[in-house]
């Protein structure tokens, strides 16, 4: 089932990347990033059956980083919403040249 798992992980990663590129809502883009992290986790778990338990240890680390990233990123989104009253990325263009 290794090849099927890797193919499924690649498809999920592709869907997440397409979501990041096509959506404008910052929260939905964040959730697409979580989907991409999940796809990578599936790769780790599938390969841990071949290469040893280290893959599952990495999954634990990835989940920790994802939780920290979600907390900080959502705090940033809340701070932006207080300033601009929107989470639409088209309207957040202060750094646009």
């Amino acid at each position: 089932m290794l090849a099927e798992s890797l193919a499924l992980s690649a498809v999920l990663f592709t869907i997440g990347a397409i979501g990041v590129l096509t959506r404008r809502n910052a929260i939905v883009i964040f959730m697409c990033v979580e989907l991409m992290l999940n796809a990578v986790n599936l790769t780790f778990v599938a390969l841990s059956k071949v290469y040893g338990m280290a893959g599952q240890v990495f999954v634990v680390f990835v989940m920790t980083v994802a939780a920290a990233e979600a907390a900080v990123g959502l705090a940033i989104i809340i701070a932006i919403f207080r300033h601009k009253q929107t989470v639409n990325l088209e309207n957040i263009n202060l750094l646009k040249g």
Binding site: T14, T22, V72
Partner: protein, 180 residues
Amino acid sequence: MPNFFYEVHFYLFGLLAIASSIAFVTRKSPVAAALWLVNTMFCLAALYVMLEAHFVGVIQVLVYAGAIMVVFLFVVMLLNLGQPSEFADVRGKWGRLAAGLLGLALLAQVMALAGRKLPEPFTPGGGYDPIAVRDLGAIGSIAQPLFNEYLLAFELTSILLLVAIVGAVVIGRRRRVDAR
């Protein structure tokens, strides 16, 4: 050992994961998108259990579906973004074109890699060891490398979490004008 029952359920959960992730990126409402993403994570947890990663399957449900997605839904509720926005959420023609091209490129790489042989395992005695898992249990077999080889990374993770907590509190705090 993989048998017919195993394979049917593997493909079932895999197709469910793909279908619900496609539903996730196409929903307009952020709440519906978040709930479809939760469904994807449950399917992935089932796949983890089928790939002999029982502990990872459990923390996938507890941490991802239970904690992280609740934080997302909480922010959607706090900012009152539950209804789909009246102007289109999806980017215009060029964004969709770029996304489609990227998707095709990524899928082409998958197709090119399909059927290739994986490199031989380079860790001596690596691979899934049912005897070790039976002796140590599903949690012990993860804890063994986590607290021996990867102890430094584990300790650094605690600093990361501390920084994340402090950062989230500082950024998310409502500043009063007279406090400056």
